[in-house]
């Protein structure tokens, strides 16, 4: 019975567990963050950034298409239940966009000495862990890490580093880039391991 419940959860989150689909985009986020001029890396001249961003959109798009084909061929397609079937879910979707935008504004203008987007991301990881039937345990670890990093500015300013630089470049782009990339790989591993376990139990 527990196996069937696990299968149900995997079927419900089949596409989400195909984490490598999004990996090129998260790596792109990481690259964009790494060249962010606020970190003192290559200075942000317009032509330099355009050179990076424009092909940068094409490369992850092509890679994610290619990875998607791999998943469709090897793991098959599962069409999830309609996510916006109820008005409450539509409202929740709109509200979350508004909240994320508000968080972005608060972080950009440093109205609070913490990263609101970081805290939101931590909440999203916890929600994902809960919704996936506690299948993705790494999400809890990432949520904890994001909470610590988001609250770090409360501990004071270290040396010459200005928190706005860290909040702007590090917390907003690089940390999510690393965490989301790792998370996407770990999701794929969770999918492979669970499918293998289900297959072994069936035989």
């Amino acid at each position: 019975m527990e196996d069937l419940k696990r299968m149900r959860i995997i079927a419900a989150h089949y596409r989400n567990l195909q984490g490598l689909r999004m990996l090129p985009w998260f790596l792109w986020l990481l690259v964009i963050g790494a060249v962010n001029p606020v970190l003192g890396l290559p200075q942000g001249q317009l032509d330099y950034q355009c050179l990076l961003i424009i092909p940068g959109i094409a490369v992850p798009w092509l890679l994610s298409k290619w990875i998607g084909r791999y998943y469709d061929r090897v793991y098959g397609r599962v069409e999830g239940l309609p996510p916006l079937s109820q008005p409450i879910e539509v409202l929740a979707g709109i509200l979350s966009v508004v909240i994320v935008y508000a968080g972005f504004v608060i972080d950009t203008f440093e109205w609070l000495p913490v990263s609101v987007l970081g805290l939101m991301m931590a909440a999203a990881f916890l929600a994902e862990w809960w919704r996936s039937g506690r299948l993705l345990n790494h999400s809890v670890l990432f949520a904890a890490l994001l909470v610590v990093l988001s609250l770090l500015p409360l501990a004071g300013t270290p040396g010459d580093v200005h928190w706005s630089h860290l909040l702007g470049g590090f917390i907003i782009l690089i940390v999510p880039g690393i965490i989301l990339s790792l998370s996407s790989v770990l999701k794929h591993i969770a999918l492979v391991r669970n499918l293998k376990a289900l297959s072994q139990e069936a035989s």
Partner: protein, 111 residues
């Protein structure tokens, strides 16, 4: 206890067979799934999966749609409304039986 045995005997055999129960459970969590994904989820061989899907289709519990994606054939499976009701009711019955079985165990333990 007689009620529980009656409930057990009353379970729909088409649904309760382990492979078919697995297929219906997987399908109940999504709108549709293709042949490859069902094979992955249930660990069934192609032959077994085809046989069970045919039985479920005969019983009116699933719809099977054969299509082409590009040049490749693709078999799409989805629950019919009757199938969705049947698996939901079946799970409710199983949960009830599970609870009853736990109650019997605790009664046995006390005796």
């Amino acid at each position: 206890m007689t009620d529980a045995f009656e409930a057990l005997a009353g379970l729909d055999r088409v649904v309760h067979e382990p492979a078919r129960l697995a297929l219906l459970t997987a399908l109940s969590a999504c709108r549709s799934a293709d042949f490859v994904s069902l094979q992955r989820l249930t660990g069934l061989t192609k032959g077994n999966l085809s046989t069970h899907l045919s039985k479920l289709e005969e019983a009116g519990l699933v719809e099977i749609e054969k299509q082409f994606i590009g040049k490749k054939p693709n078999t799409l499976v989805r629950l019919t409304p009757e199938g969705r009701t049947a698996i939901e009711q079946h799970w409710q019955a199983l949960e009830r039986l599970h609870r009853d079985a736990q109650r019997w165990q605790s009664v046995d333990g006390r005796q």
